[in-house]
Amino acid sequence: MSSKIIFGKWEGTVLLINLICTQIILGFPRVMTEMAGTAAWITIIYVSVIMLVAFWLISKLYSRFEGMDIIDISQIAGGGILRVITGLVMTAYIMYIISIVLREFAEDMKVIILPESPISFVTLFFVAGMIVGAYLGLEAIVRLGAIFIPLITIGFLFITIGVSPYYDMANLFPVLGAGPEKIFGEGFFRISIFSAASILFFIAPYIRTNRNFKIVGYASILISSCLFLWSVLSYIMVFPYTVSIENFLPIYQMARLINYGRFFQRVESVFVFIWAATALLYLSGAFYFIIHIFRKTFKLEYEKPLIAPFAILIFNISLLPPNLATAIQLEEEYFRKYIWIVTIVFPIIVLSIANISQKRKKGERKGEKAVE
C-alpha cells in the first residue's frame, strides 16, 4: 500500500523543514548562543555550508539508487545483516530524539499553560496526535503539513518581526562572540542540527526521481538554514548575551514582548497554537517513520499493529528523565554533539559500500560477458 503513496516536492520539502526546524521553538537559539555567544549566527552559516557540501556528496553517491531508501540500499551493500543494523540504528535514533522532544514539549507546555496538570496528562495529548497521525498514514501527515507549516512559518515570522522595536544591533557585537575556535571548532559538531534531513532517505521512494531528491534536499536544507539563521539573529538582537543564555524558551520569551497598543498586550498564548501544531506535526511525522522503518527492516506486512506498542514505549521512555533539565541535557550534551555520525556519516558509508558493490557486480558481469 505504501508504494502507492506519492507526494510532490512541496510536500516533501515541507515535511523535512518541519522535522529539521522544530528545535527552533524549543531551546535552539539559546543553545547556539550558549556555545558561540553573539556569533551564533556565523556558526549557522558555517554549519549550513558544510551540510550543503555533505548533501552534495550524498546526492552524488545516491544517484545510482533512484527511488530507493536507505534500507534497500543497505540491503544491496551488505545483505540482510546490514539492512537490520541500519534499520535498528535509524529506529533507535528516531526513538531517542522523539522521546526527548516529546518530554520537552510536554514540560514546556506545562510551564506555559498547564502548571497544575501532571506531566503524563499533558504528554497524552501529544501521544494522541501521534497515534492518529501514524494511523492515518504518511499521506495525511504530509498533506496536513503542507497546509499547517506555511501558517506556522508565518506565525513564527510574525513573532520575530513583531519584536522589531526591541532590536538592538549592538547586541551582535563582539562579532566573533566566543571566538573562532568555538564557532568553527566546536561549531562543526552542530551539523547535527540537520540530522533530521536523514529522513529524506526514507521519503525518496515517495518523491520518485533523483531530481526531486536533490530539489527537496537542497530546498529543505536552505530554507531550514534561513529559518535557523533568522531565529538566532533576531533572538540575539532582542536579548543581550547575558540574558539570552538564561531564557529556556527563547521564542516564547520573544512572543511575550509583543505589545501593540493597549489591547494587544499579551498575545503569547497564540504562540501555544504554533507550538502545539509544530509539535504534533513533528511527533506524528517522526513516529510514522519509526514504524515505517521498523516494518521495512523486518519485512513485516502491516504497520498498524505496531502503532500501539511503539506509542506506549515512547510515552514511557519520555517519562524516564527525572526533569526537564535532564531531558535538555540528554538532547544537547549527547544527541546534538554526536548524532551527525549516525545521520550523516553512517549513510555516507553505507552509500559508498553500496556503490562499490554495485560497481563490482557490474565489473563481474562485464568480465563474464568478455569470457563468453
Partner: protein, 598 residues
C-alpha cells in the same frame, strides 16, 4: 334518571371487561403463507420431525431450523414464480393477458388500478382490447382524448395500408399520442405503468403499447427553501425528476449533456438520473458514480438524503462528501466544471459529486455579484464558520487557562458578570449550547403557527430570565448567540450540523487543556479531513495536496474573466473553460493568458 344510575353503578361497582381480541403482530409463520397443499405437506413433515425429535436429544433446534429452511425455500419458490410471471412474454390471447395483469396487480385487492375493456373496430370486425393504468398518477384527459377516443372511434376509418398488420396500423394511424412504446415483456410494461404510464393490450397482438400519460399532482417550480440568494435565479428543484432534468437542460443547451437513467429500489423502483457533460467529465468518475448507483440493493429510497448516505465514501467523516442542492443553476455550474449530478425522483435535492471542503463554503451568489463583494461574502462566511466551530471552545480555554490574553478591563467585566453564577464556565456553556440546540430542533418540528411563540419563549428564558436568575452570565449569552449566528452562516446545511457536533468536542477538549487541547482537536480533525476523499478527490484539495489551476476560485475568487480553467483535481477532459482572452473586446492584438487585465 336512568342515565345517572348507570353512571353511578359504573363508578361504584366492578364491571367485567368486555372480551375483545386484541391485535397482535405475529411473526410470519411459514404455514400461513402457504397454499393448502403445502400446509398438508408441512403437517406431514412436522410429524416426521417430531418423531425424530423423540429419538434425538436436542432435536428441537433441528426442527426449528428445518421449518425455517423449508419456509425460506417456499418463499424463494414463490418469488421465483412471480419473477417468472413478470419476465414472461405477452400472449396473443387477450384473455390470458387480462388474467396475467390482474394477477400481477392483485386486482381486485388493489383499488387504484383501472382496467378498461373496449373494442377496436377494424373495418368489419371488432377486436377486443383493454387499457390499464393507475388512477391518480395519469392524466385522464390525455387518456380519454388521445388514446381511448381514437382507438374506439377513429378505428372505424378506412384502412389505407395492408390490413394484416394490425399492430403497425394501430400504432401508426390510430394512436395520435406523442410518446408510444411497444413492449413484449410484462416486466417492462409494468415498469411503465408503475411510473404513471398506461398499457394497451389488443387481442391477437403479442405485445402491448405503452403511453406516457403521467399526470400526478405535484408542486410547481418555486423558490428554493434552503439556498436563498438576492442576486441570481430564483427557481428551485421540485419532486418530479423530469421537471428537474428540464430545469438543468434549459440552462445547459448542450447535446453532450448526458442524462443516464437508473432505477433504484427493488420495491420503489425510484427513477434516478445521472447527469454529466460527456466531453468534460472524467470518464472514470462517471463510471464510478454509475457503478455505485447500480450496485445498490435496497427496497425503498424516499429521498436523495438516503441515496447520499448509500454512495458516499465515508459514513463517519464529520463532513458531507456530496453536496445536496435545490438550485438548478448550481448544478449547471458544477456540470460545466466536470462534476456529476444525480437526480432522484421524489426529492427536490440534487446531489453533486465529487466535492471538496471549500465547495461547501461557496454560495452560488459569490459569482453572481461583483468580484469584491463576492470575496467579502466568502470571508465573512469563513469567519462565521470558524466562530461556530471554535468560539465556545476558545472562550472556555481563555477564561480557564489563558486569562492573561484578555485585556484587563474586559477581564474585570467578565469576572463581574460571572461573580454570582454558581456553575463552572464549562457547565454554564454546555447548558446554554444544549438549550440553544433544543430551541433550534423544536423550532423545526413545531407546527407553523406556534413557531414564533417558541422563539419568544426561548429568547425570554435564555436571554433575560437565565441572566436575572444568575444561572448564566451575560457574556456567555453573547458567546452562544454569536456562535449560533455563525453556524447559520454556513451555506451548507449538512456542514453546519457537523460543526454543531464538533463544537461540543471542542468545548470539552478546551476545558481539559486550553489551547493545547484545541490545537490537538484541530490537528486530529485536520488529519481526518486531509485523509478523506470524495469520489477519489482528496477532500482538502487544492491545499493538501496542492494542485494547479484551483486557486482562481478557492478561499477567495479571482475576477470572473480570470477563472479560465476548470479545477485540475477533477481531471476534466477539457481543462479550459474560457479563452485566454475571454473578454474579446479587450483584445487589442496582444497575446498570452494574463493579457486580459490590460
Amino acid at each position: 334518571m336512568e342515565g345517572y344510575k348507570k353512571i353511578i353503578k359504573k363508578l361504584l361497582f366492578f364491571n367485567e371487561p368486555k372480551k375483545m381480541e386484541r391485535f397482535v403482530l405475529k411473526e410470519t409463520s411459514s404455514k400461513e403463507n402457504r397454499t393448502e397443499d403445502s400446509a398438508e405437506n408441512n403437517a406431514e413433515k412436522d410429524k416426521q420431525y417430531r418423531a425424530r425429535r423423540r429419538k434425538e436429544p436436542g432435536g428441537i433446534r433441528k426442527i426449528d431450523r428445518g421449518t425455517d429452511e423449508s419456509s425460506k425455500k417456499e418463499k424463494e419458490i414463490q418469488k421465483e414464480d412471480e419473477n417468472k410471471r413478470k419476465d414472461s412474454e405477452v400472449s396473443v390471447y387477450l384473455s390470458h393477458n387480462l388474467t396475467s395483469m390482474k394477477r400481477l396487480y392483485n386486482i381486485p385487492m388493489n383499488g387504484d388500478v383501472v382496467i378498461r375493456e373496449f373494442d377496436i373496430i377494424l373495418k368489419d370486425r371488432a377486436v377486443g382490447a383493454f387499457i390499464i393504468f393507475f388512477d391518480g398518477m395519469t392524466d385522464r384527459k390525455v387518456i380519454n382524448n388521445n388514446i381511448l377516443q381514437p382507438l374506439m372511434m377513429l378505428s372505424s376509418l378506412e384502412i389505407k395500408k395492408a390490413e394484416e398488420d394490425i399492430a403497425e396500423y394501430i400504432k401508426k394511424q390510430i394512436l395520435p399520442h406523442n410518446q408510444m412504446k411497444e413492449f413484449t415483456s410484462y416486466r417492462k410494461i409494468m415498469d411503465e405503468v408503475n411510473f404513471g404510464g398506461c398499457a394497451i393490450f389488443v387481442d391477437g397482438i403479442a405485445k402491448a403499447f405503452t403511453g406516457d400519460v403521467k399526470g400526478w399532482e405535484h408542486r410547481g417550480v418555486e423558490r428554493p427553501n434552503t439556498e436563498l440568494v438576492i442576486r441570481g435565479p430564483q427557481e428551485g428543484f421540485t419532486e418530479t425528476i423530469r421537471t428537474n432534468t428540464a430545469l438543468i437542460r434549459k440552462r445547459l443547451k448542450d447535446e453532450d449533456l448526458i442524462c443516464q437513467n437508473f432505477e433504484i429500489g427493488e420495491r420503489s423502483n425510484t427513477p434516478c438520473s445521472m447527469m454529466y457533460i460527456k466531453d468534460i467529465a472524467n470518464e472514470s468518475l462517471v463510471e464510478e458514480v454509475a457503478k455505485r448507483l447500480k450496485s445498490l440493493k435496497v427496497d425503498y429510497l424516499s429521498d436523495s438524503g438516503e441515496l447520499e448516505q448509500f454512495i458516499e465514501d465515508s459514513s463517519f467523516l464529520p463532513a458531507p462528501q456530496i453536496i445536496a442542492t435545490e438550485r438548478p443553476d448550481r448544478v449547471a455550474t458544477a456540470l460545466t466544471e466536470g462534476r456529476v449530478a444525480v437526480i432522484m425522483h421524489g426529492s427536490p435535492f440534487v446531489l453533486i459529486m465529487p466535492i471538496t471542503a471549500e465547495d461547501m463554503v461557496k454560495s452560488p451568489e459569490d459569482n453572481y455579484v461583483r468580484f469584491p463583494y463576492g470575496n467579502l461574502f466568502r470571508l465573512i462566511r469563513y469567519f462565521g464558520i470558524a466562530l461556530s466551530l471554535l468560539l465556545p471552545g476558545l472562550y472556555i480555554a481563555i477564561t480557564n487557562y489563558h486569562q492573561e490574553m484578555i485585556p484587563t478591563d474586559l477581564l474585570f467585566s467578565i469576572e463581574a458578570a460571572r461573580e454570582m453564577v454558581p456553575f463552572p464556565s464549562v457547565i454554564e456553556i454546555l447548558i446554554m449550547e444544549i438549550a440553544f440546540e433544543l430551541i433550534r430542533e423544536a423550532g423545526i418540528r413545531i407546527p407553523g403557527p406556534i413557531g414564533p411563540t417558541l422563539g419568544i419563549i426561548g429568547a425570554l428564558i435564555l436571554g433575560q430570565a437565565a441572566v436575572a436568575a444568575n444561572i448564566v452570565s451575560p457574556v456567555l449569552i453573547i458567546i452562544v448567540a454569536v456562535t449560533g449566528i455563525g453556524s447559520f452562516a454556513a451555506p451548507n446545511f449538512s456542514l453546519a450540523f457537523s460543526f454543531r457536533i464538533l463544537r461540543f468536542a471542542f468545548i470539552i477538549i478546551g476545558a481539559m487543556a486550553g489551547f493545547l487541547g484545541i490545537t490537538t482537536g484541530l490537528f486530529i480533525y485536520g488529519m481526518w479531513l486531509v485523509s478523506a476523499k470524495s469520489f477519489g478527490v482528496p477532500f482538502l484539495v487544492p491545499f493538501g495536496p496542492k494542485t494547479a489551476n484551483a486557486f482562481t476560485d478557492s478561499i477567495l475568487r479571482a475576477p470572473i474573466w480570470k477563472q479560465e480553467r476548470r479545477p485540475d483535481y477533477l481531471n476534466p477532459k477539457d481543462d479550459r473553460r474560457q479563452a485566454p482572452i475571454s473578454r474579446g473586446w479587450m483584445d487589442n492584438g496582444s497575446k498570452g493568458e494574463d493579457e486580459d487585465e490590460q
